[in-house]
Symmetry: none
Subunit: 220 residues, 2 copies
């Protein structure tokens, strides 16, 4: 899952990046409003963490312009300003949640999970499809309640597919969300990875839609 972190304080940004990274997200950082707006408008992120106190364009203005352009990704606002009136402003500007500083990273992660969950249309941190169960909090996959050993990349792959089950996910989207922002892969690393996951989870969980991508069916 690729996350855009918009934060101008370099130290906070570094800390959060570390936390988010170890929680399994792929983090990209923007340090001013212009950059943030451009990245959020042109790239696909699973979520955005947006600090309101930015140089350049104001955070709320960035958010409003995203929404005006139809960008739908969930946004978690992060700020020291915490009066209820400003919270209302943030939420009505199109934010999905609002977290006042100071905060515990556990709460940040929980709210992040929550808005991501909502945006992909599911309400439980545990995803079950057929025999396969994914537990995001424990970073664990079970097949018929037998826990399974997956490598980090394998886990990210199946987690992304399960979180987006019921729709086709293109190879490019998968690569962007599993690997970093790199484009221009002329390798078949992803196909090899798919093969390895299939060998562990069963060949029929992930269907290939030749020419489109891969899909995990919505239920059972």
């Amino acid at each position: 899952m690729r996350i855009l972190l918009v934060e101008d304080d370099a130290r906070i940004a570094a800390d959060l990046t570390r936390v988010l990274d170890s929680a399994g997200y792929v983090v990209e950082t923007a340090t001013d409003g212009e950059d943030a707006w451009y990245r959020g408008d042109t790239e696909d992120y699973g979520a955005v963490i947006l600090d309101l106190g930015l140089p350049g364009m104001d955070g709320l203005a960035v958010l409003k312009r995203w929404r005006a352009n139809g960008r739908q990704m969930p946004v978690l606002i992060l700020t020291a300003r915490g009066t209820w009136a400003e919270r209302v402003d943030g939420i009505d500007a199109g934010a999905d949640d609002y977290l006042p500083k100071p905060f515990r990273v556990e709460e940040l992660l929980a709210r992040l999970r929550s808005i991501i969950r909502r945006s992909v249309g599911q309400s439980s941190p545990i995803v079950a499809v057929g025999d396969v169960t994914l537990d995001d909090r424990r970073k664990e996959v079970m097949v018929r309640s037998v826990p399974l050993q997956l490598s980090p990349l394998e886990y990210r792959l199946i987690a992304y597919l399960l979180h987006h089950r019921g729709r086709v996910v293109s190879q490019q989207e998968l690569e962007e969300n599993i690997y970093g922002t790199d484009g221009a892969h002329d390798s078949n690393a992803l196909e090899v990875l798919i093969g390895r996951v299939r060998r562990k989870l069963g060949a029929d969980l992930i269907e290939t839609r030749r020419g489109f991508g891969y899909i995990v069916s919505a239920s059972s």
Copy 2:
């Protein structure tokens, strides 16, 4: 929009009902966990406002049982308990948002709008004409509820025609939208493609308007 308000304190319930009512919602109230669970499980609400301090079944347990039964409506948790650990619990139990007491009604309304906005924005784009259903998310076509997989080009063709059903689409327009921007096809590739799609979806879905192009009737 129908809202389920789960709140055991009669005075708070009455106040909130009045506020929500004047904001345009239709409010129903449950005062204990059993009742709340039953109503939420059998009725359809646009959103639920859930107080955690309930007699009978605990609020979190109610929420978990709803989610376990696949109930997807957005839930806003409302409680006096406000430590970060409990907030994490509530969000991970499947709540969409969390509001600690005391709160301003403006903020309640803003958060309610937010979670409702989220939940209505995720219906899947499906087009149906006669026996044929197109599911854009799955890149799949169903004929009399039998799923059918088309090649990428075939899919693009029928998707374009279905999205523009009810009017004649010229060959040139089709080519421009199925292939790249290239013009100047002196081949009959498109006709071959039309034939292949007809063989799979039935010959009468796509009508030929000799000299003009093709048309899929609006509905029926």
